[in-house]
Symmetry: C4
């Protein structure tokens, strides 16, 4: 192997490394800031017990869990994509920044859903919630389309790459369903988001096992 090649590989892996590190930081902070929207009920509101006060906040917990699960799965996907991506490009940096913009925004519609559940405006809140995830899923597709064409290594695992491409093509459709459910039933829409996160979490196991076998 010529030394020049070796060096350029090291340089580009360093580039991807920082993109991943920065993304990890943003994912980690966004997923942790979600908790700030779960409020501590004040001790002075003494006519009902703490248990009742905490139970009344259940929409906060559901929205928190749905967002945590979705950001978590998105991080796992990000992680999986960057296992295949060995080069960086300016387009990758920009698409990744757009993706992170989406991830950073997530705590806002999450707080909206928690605040407006059961009040007027809950349908709009749920639409913004699913709409944010839909946008992130679309950006993920564009990023992966760019990366799978230009930034994979020579020894990229092609069946696995095609498998990811196939799965990703349908990802946004699921969030369209969540978005369309929002004006009908907020509970169904948020529940579908949670279910999607669990669904996206499970099949990967079989895919990885198959590709390793």
């Amino acid at each position: 192997m010529p030394p020049h090649d070796e060096e350029s590989t090291t340089a580009s892996s360093k580039e991807t490394g920082r993109v991943e590190a920065f993304s990890d930081g943003v994912f980690a902070i966004a997923i942790t800031l979600l908790l700030l929207d779960i409020k501590v009920p004040h001790a002075s509101e003494s006519d009902v017990g703490l248990g009742t006060l905490l139970l009344r906040q259940w929409p906060s917990y559901v929205a928190f869990l749905a967002s945590f699960a979705t950001i978590g799965i998105m991080w796992i996907n990000h992680h999986r994509l960057f296992t295949h991506i060995v080069r960086s490009s300016h387009a990758l940096l920009l698409l990744n920044s757009l993706l992170l913009l989406g991830v950073v925004v997530v705590p806002f519609p999450t707080a909206l859903v928690a605040e407006y559940f059961g009040h007027e405006g809950e349908h709009l809140a749920a639409m913004l919630f699913s709409g944010t995830f839909l946008l992130i899923a679309i950006i993920f597709n564009v990023l992966w389309r760019h990366a799978s064409k230009h930034l994979l290594g020579h020894n990229a695992n092609h069946p696995q790459v095609r498998e990811i491409s196939k799965q990703y093509r349908f990802g946004p459709l699921f969030y369209v369903v969540c978005l369309l459910l929002a004006p009908l039933s907020v509970g169904a829409s948020i529940g579908m988001n949670l279910a999607l996160a669990i669904f996206f979490a499970l099949p990967r196991v079989s895919v990885q096992r198959r590709s390793r076998a």
Copy 2:
């Protein structure tokens, strides 16, 4: 050493690397956000001095310290486990996400304990506090059981691995004691949590020394 093997090792160490980096980020943010629950008393409340105002908040400090120590010890344990784990798996990613969910949640029961200490509801707050740590300890056990079976390197230090497994089996039991103490005495329960963190911190020294000798 065949080049294929070399490559797969590099690839998997990169995978574990990002899981660790993401986890480090979440641990670091959760441990830092704990401080946000320690409030600055307002300067205008002038009938008592700042010293008195600060001393009145002592339950905040104890809850902060207990949570800081516990998250700190959990990070050290996470760090220790991933010294042995050389491969990643989808199950590891999911279990690690569950673990991080627990860690992210910690500031909430911490704030509850600080707010409700000495008020009605303090026992429930203390139960949620210990209950969160109990859940994290259980997830740690499941994660380690999975990892110790499937994801260790060829040169995994077996006596050390078995030592960790033995120690972990008893971890949740201690938090069950904290949980059972909560309805009796909030102070005893929180104090036991702090004591546990210190206890978990100390014996590791001897274990590591023995295994290195």
Copy 3:
């Protein structure tokens, strides 16, 4: 290759690595904290719908986007500079700390613009907004001037280094324009900041392609 050389290279790349990791963390947190300034309107303000309440906050969104885009571009630039920088120096650490001070401060003028847009004081808020970015651009120049003289590798890509130097010389001038626009029109000044971020984002593609060809 003599072992001594090898070692010193490893040591310095480790040094730069931590500077980059710390910077990534600060960039990631500052870019995520921007969201905290977008407030959730309270559900009880029932005379107007959620949609109206959200639309009224549009200056918050514009300020958020301009700051997100600018911090994002600054991170990409930071990343690009440190691809060339192979050694660390105390001056680099200090200049980098100053740069991070600027980045950390960004959410404050962003919140000022969002709060004061359309009120008395909006011109001052917009001047502080552009002034912060101007200061960061100047520090970037000083940092790059120091680094390009003292801290590049033997195989530093000289045309690319000169290209960056040329581009950077003009960076602060653009922010001076934003600063001068602020007392005339807040909208034009903030809009120019957003446009600058997009402009800075695009030309890099052609530069990188050319230098790789």
Copy 4:
């Protein structure tokens, strides 16, 4: 070089790597959270202009700058120490956790100084401010004493190590002076902290140059 040695070096550098990554995260978050204590004055307080409202907050800015500079210098020191530390130990992890506890706490006394400057209680606030830095400086000393005895590499630069040890021995004394100044003059005490950060920042340049020459 025997392969076994090589491996153990890699393993321990990985250990130190995560300690550094976690510490970087905590330093980065603590230094960024400092900004949350600088409040945006409300637009409705219309009897005075924004400029006046902002100027009135000057103690916030000074406290922010002093804390930012001190945490920044502490990070640079941490970075410098870990350039020499090649092995990890449980004691290092514990001492480092104590150090991070100090760093995480810094935004609290900073907010106290900003809130109480010019009010009753300002002397106590300033004492807590300097006291926090004193404690951190002491922990730094203990950590370095442990590390310099047990965790340096074979090729550790001994004159540089002794230089650091000498410098560190006097660090806490300076913060004792800040602490003793606090009951006399809050401004002098905070100013001395800022001056110390600048002083600690400068001499390192000459030390590093000398040791590299």
